[in-house]
C-alpha cells in the first residue's frame, strides 16, 4: 500500500513546485513531468502487486471526520481502471512538455500542470476509496480539477461556456450522488462500502439507489441524454487534458455504476434492460452526431459518447446475466465492458494526442482546412491511422477484442432456451450498426485530414510533431497493438475482476471457455499484420520508379484541392439518412439558372439535447421568471405591504389548522 500512497501523493503534488517557480522560464515543467512519471510508476507497482497476489491492498486509518475510517482498498476491479490512468497521465505529461511549453504559455502553463496532477490523483483516490465520504471527496476533487482543465484558455468565450456547462452538469450529478450515498448508508448501516453481493435490498429503495446512481454516474460518463457537457468540454481543453478527461475521467462514471451494482445480491431484470437500451441509444446517437461534425476534437468527443454507450450496453448485458443467473453472459458482458474501458482509454487518448499534433501544426480544428498531412506528418498520420483502426473495432488492434467479447455474449444470449436474457441479443445488430458508422466516420476523418491534397495554406506548411510528442503516442499505439495481438495476456486480470464483481470465485470459470479461442485470434492477427506489411512492402518495391501523373479527373485539366470531397460532403449521405435524429441545419448550396453565380453552403449540426432541448427550455424558464419578478417586485411599497399582510393571513390560517 505504501507504493500506492506514494504514487497518489507524487501525482497530486506534481504541479505544486511549479507554483513557486518563476512565471517566465521553465516553470518547473520538467520536474512536474518527472513527478507524474514517478507517481505513475509507483502506482503501477502497487497495482502489479494486487494482480500478482490476487489480494486487494487495504489501508484503514482513523479519521477525525465522523462516519468511519479513512479506508482505501485497491482490488482487481479498480486495477482495470487504474492501469490506463497511469499510462495516459504519464504520456500526457510528457506530451505536454512539447505541446504546452511554459515559454509559449506563461499565463496558464503552471495552472494546467497543477490541475493535471490533481485530477490524476483525484481519480486515483476515487478508484481506491472504500468509504462513501472519501469517494465523494475524491469525486469533487476530480470534478473541480476537470473544470480548471477545461477552462485553461479562459480568455476564449468557448472555453468559459464549456466550463460552466460542465460545472452545472457535474454538480447536478454530485447532488444525485449525495442522495445515493445517504440511502446506501441507511441500507448498509455504515458509510463503508458493502462487500460484493452483501446488500440484500429490494423494491423501491433499491430502485431509487439504482436510478440515482444511473443519473449521477451517467452524467459523468456521458450517457445520452446526459452527455450535454461532454462535446464542448473535450473540444475546449488542451489536447493532452482532453485525452485524460475522455480516456480516464469519464470512466469514473462507469466505475461508479460497476461498483454500485456489485453491492447488490439480487438485481431486477429491468436494471440491465435499462442500461442496455441507454447504451444502444448512446452508441448510435453518439456516432451519428460524430459523423455530422467537422470540428476534429468535437468529433472525437462524440465518439466518447459512442464508446461509453458500448460499455454501458455490455454492462447491461452483465446485469441481465446476473438477474437470470446466466454465468457466461455475466462473465462476457463484464469482461467486455472492462476491456473496452481499458481499450477506449488507450485509443481515445492516442487519437486526442495525434489530433493535438495536427492542431499544433496547422492551428485549426476545422477538418475541412486539412488535407494531405500524411506527407508532412508521416508519424502522426500513421499513429492516427492505428488509433482509427482500433476505435472502429477492427482487427488486429484492441478494439476488436472487446467487441468480440460482447458479440459472444450477445450470441450466447440468443442461444439460451426459455425466458431469459433474450433482450441482450439486440446488442449484436446494434454493435454492428455502431461499428459500421464508426468506420465511416473514421475513414472520413483520416481521409480528409491526412490524405489527398492540402486544402489550406496552413495545411501546406504543416510540420511533423517533435519527438517528445511522438513518443507518448507511439507508447499508446504499442499498448493498443499489444492488447490486439496478445489478448491472452489480459485474461487473468479480467478473470479476477469478474470474480470480484459477481462475488463468486467460480464466476470466472464462465470466462475461461469462451476466452480459449483468443490464442487463435492472436495468431490470425499476427498473420494478418505480417501479410499486410509484406504485401505493402512488395507493392511499393514493385512500383518504385513508376510514372507519376495527375489524379484522373474525368478529363478535367485544371483540378484544384478545393474540388476534393470534404468532411461534410463525405458524411452527407449518412447524415441525410439519419436526419430524423440529427436535425442538421443546412444553408444555401442551391445552384440557380444555367450559369449560376458563385454560391455558399454551410451545414451545422447542433447537439440534440443541449442546443435543441435544454438551452431553449432554460431560456424560456429564465424569460418566465424575469417576467414574474418584474410583476412581483414592481417597486410599489403598497404592493409589498400587501404581500406582508397576505403572508400573515396565510400563516395565521395555517396556525389555525394545525
Amino acid at each position: 500500500m505504501g507504493w500506492f500512497v506514494a504514487g497518489l501523493l507524487l501525482l497530486g503534488f506534481s504541479g505544486v513546485p511549479g507554483l513557486f517557480a518563476a512565471r517566465a522560464g521553465g516553470g518547473a515543467e520538467k520536474l512536474a513531468c518527472l513527478l507524474v512519471w514517478a507517481g505513475a510508476a509507483c502506482g503501477t507497482l502497487a497495482v502489479w502487486e494486487v494482480l500478482k497476489h490476487g489480494v486487494p491492498l487495504v489501508l484503514d486509518l482513523p479519521w477525525a471526520i465522523p462516519g468511519g475510517a479513512l479506508a482505501l482498498r485497491v482490488d482487481a476491479l479498480a486495477a482495470v481502471f487504474l492501469l490506463p490512468l497511469f499510462l495516459v497521465a504519464a504520456s500526457g505529461a510528457l506530451y505536454g512538455l512539447a505541446y504546452w511549453p511554459q515559454r509559449a504559455h506563461p499565463g496558464n502553463g503552471r495552472r494546467l500542470r497543477l490541475f493535471f496532477g490533481l485530477i490524476s490523483a483525484g481519480v486515483m483516490l476515487l478508484l481506491s476509496a472504500a468509504n462513501s465520504l472519501l469517494f465523494l471527496l475524491a469525486w469533487e476533487f476530480m470534478a473541480l480539477s476537470g473544470f480548471f482543465l477545461i477552462t485553461t484558455e479562459e480568455h476564449q468565450s468557448e472555453a468559459r461556456e464549456a466550463g460552466f456547462i460542465y460545472l452545472v452538469a457535474t454538480h447536478t450529478g454530485t447532488l444525485a450522488l449525495f442522495a445515493l450515498f445517504a440511502l446506501l448508508e441507511q441500507a448498509a448501516g455504515s458509510l463503508l462500502f458493502p462487500g460484493a453481493g452483501a446488500l440484500t435490498l429490494k423494491g423501491a429503495e433499491a430502485a431509487a439507489i439504482f436510478l440515482l446512481g444511473l443519473f449521477g454516474f451517467g452524467l459523468k460518463a456521458g450517457l445520452v441524454p446526459l452527455h450535454i457537457w461532454l462535446p464542448g468540454a473535450h473540444a475546449a481543453a488542451p489536447s493532452h487534458a482532453s485525452a485524460l478527461l475522455s480516456g480516464v475521467m469519464i470512466k469514473t462514471g462507469i466505475y461508479g455504476l460497476t461498483r454500485l451494482t456489485s453491492f447488490f445480491a439480487e438485481i431486477p431484470p429491468w436494471w440491465g434492460a435499462t442500461l442496455l437500451a441507454l447504451g444502444i441509444l448512446s452508441g448510435i446517437l453518439g456516432v451519428a452526431l460524430a459523423l455530422a461534425q467537422h470540428d476534429l476534437k468535437r468529433l472525437l468527443a462524440y465518439h466518447s459518447v459512442e464508446n461509453i454507450g458500448i460499455i454501458a450496453l455490455s454492462l447491461g448485458m452483465a446485469l441481465l446475466g446476473r438477474s437470470y443467473g446466466v454465468e457466461a453472459l455475466v462473465a462476457l458482458g463484464l469482461a467486455g465492458a472492462l476491456l473496452h474501458v481499458v481499450n477506449h482509454g488507450l485509443f481515445k487518448s492516442l487519437l486526442f494526442l495525434s489530433a493535438g499534433a495536427v492542431i499544433h501544426a496547422t492551428g485549426t480544428r476545422e477538418l475541412d482546412h486539412y488535407g494531405g498531412l500524411l506527407k508532412s506528418q508521416p508519424w502522426t498520420g500513421a499513429l492516427f491511422l492505428g488509433g482509427a483502426v482500433a476505435i472502429s473495432g477492427l482487427p488486429p488492434f484492441n478494439g476488436f477484442i472487446s467487441e468480440w467479447l460482447l458479440y459472444l455474449g450477445a450470441f450466447g444470449a440468443a442461444q439460451t432456451e426459455g425466458p431469459g436474457p433474450t433482450a441482450a441479443l439486440l446488442a449484436a445488430p446494434a454493435l454492428a450498426l455502431i461499428g459500421g458508422l464508426a468506420l465511416a466516420c473514421f475513414v472520413k476523418v483520416f481521409g480528409v485530414t491526412f490524405l489527398g491534397a492540402p486544402r489550406s495554406e496552413a495545411a501546406h506548411h504543416a510540420h511533423e510533431a517533435p519527438f517528445l510528442m511522438r513518443a507518448p503516442m507511439i507508447a499508446l499505439l504499442l499498448a493498443c497493438a499489444w492488447i490486439g495481438l496478445l489478448p491472452q495476456t489480459l485474461v487473468p486480470l479480467l478473470e479476477q475482476a469478474v470474480a470480484l464483481w459477481s462475488a463468486a470465485p467460480e464466476a470466472s470459470a464462465g470466462l475461461s471457455a469462451p476466452l480459449a479461442p483468443l490464442g487463435w485470434i492472436s495468431a490470425l492477427a499476427w498473420v494478418l499484420l505480417l501479410a499486410l506489411a509484406l504485401g505493402v512492402w512488395w507493392l511499393r518495391r514493385r512500383a518504385r520508379g513508376a510514372a507519376r501523373a495527375e489524379t484522373w479527373g474525368c478529363g478535367y485539366a485544371l483540378p484544384s484541392a478545393r474540388m476534393q470531397y470534404s468532411a461534410s460532403s463525405f458524411a452527407d449521405f449518412l447524415v441525410r439518412l439519419l436526419r430524423f435524429g440529427l436535425w442538421s441545419e443546412r444553408h444555401g448550396g442551391a445552384a440557380r439558372g444555367l450559369f449560376p453565380e458563385p454560391g455558399q453552403f454551410a451545414s451545422h449540426t447542433p447537439d440534440l439535447v443541449l442546443d435543441r432541448g435544454l438551452r431553449p427550455a432554460f431560456c424560456g424558464l429564465a424569460w418566465l421568471f424575469r417576467r414574474l419578478r418584474a410583476l412581483i417586485q414592481n417597486g410599489l411599497s403598497a404592493c409589498y405591504l400587501l404581500y406582508v399582510a397576505l403572508t400573515l393571513i396565510v400563516l395565521l390560517l395555517l396556525g389555525g389548522f394545525f
Binding site: 459472444l408 469462451p514 485470434i521
Partner: protein, 304 residues
Amino acid sequence: MIAHLLLHLLVLLLFAPLLPGVIARTKARFAGRQGPPLLQPYYDLLRLWRKGFVLSRTTTWVFSAGPVVGLVVPLLAALLLPFGALSAPLSFEGDLILFVYLFALARFFTAAAALDTGSSFEGMGAAREVTFSCLAEPTLMFALLVLAKLSGGLSLQTLFGAHLPAAWGSGAGPALGLILVCLFVVLLVENSRIPFDDPNTHLELTMIHEVMVLDHSGPAFGMILYGAALKLMVLGSLLVRLALPWNSGFWLFDLLIYLGGLLLLAVLIGVVESVMARLRLVRVPQVLIGTSLVSVFALVLVLR
C-alpha cells in the same frame, strides 16, 4: 492440417476468377451476344500482372495498402469458412465475428485508398461504399444470429454444419428461406452488383466500387480484381452452403456440389443483372433497411 489449409486456399485461388467470367457470359447470352471467353478474367489478371504502374502525384503508401488488404482479407477469411461440406481449416468459437470484421477492415482501407487520390469522384465512391455497407451490416448480424440459434454453436463450421438439411425440414425452414434472400442481397451489395452498383458503367458519377479504384493500375489493379473475385466466392459460399446443404460423405462429391452451386450462383447473379436496372442511389438505403426488417422477422420466427 497444413495440407488441408493449402488445398483450401488452392481451390479458392484457382476457382474464384471463373465466377466473374460466368457472370459476364450469362449477361452476354441474355443480350444476344457471344461474350468474352469464360477464362477472360484469368487472362486479364495475367496481363495486369505484367504491366507497369502509373501513380497519382497526391498518393502515399495508404494508396498501395488498399489493394493489399483487399487481397489478403478474403484469403484469411476463407480459412474460417467451410467450402460446402468440406470443413474449414481453422475453426474456433466466435470466428464468425472475425469473419465479418475482416471484411470491414478491407472496406476501411479500400475507402482510405480512394480518398488518398484527392479526387472528388473517388471520394463519392468511398462515401457511398461505407454508407451502404454500414446499412448491410445489421442484416448480416441478424442472419448470423438466426444461424447461430439453429446450430447452437458460434463458429462458421458449426453454423453451416450437417444440421442444415434437418433444419430446412423443421419449423425453421421459412426462417432459413428469408435468411437466404437477405444474404443474397448482402452479397449483391458487398460485391457491388446490380441493382446496387453497376460494374460495367462508364459514368464516374454513378459508380460506387469502380470509381474507388479508378487510379489503380498494373499489378495493384490486378490485386483489386483478384480480391473482388475472391470476395465474391467467399461470400457466395455462405449462400451455396445454405441452399445446397447436403453432405455426401465423399469429399469429391462434396467439392463438386459446392463448385456447381457456385457456378449456379454466378448464373443467377448474371440473370439478375440482365433483367434488372440499377436502383436510384436514394432507393438503395430503403432496400437495405427493408432487408434488415426481413431478417428481423426471420429471427422472430426462430426465437418464438
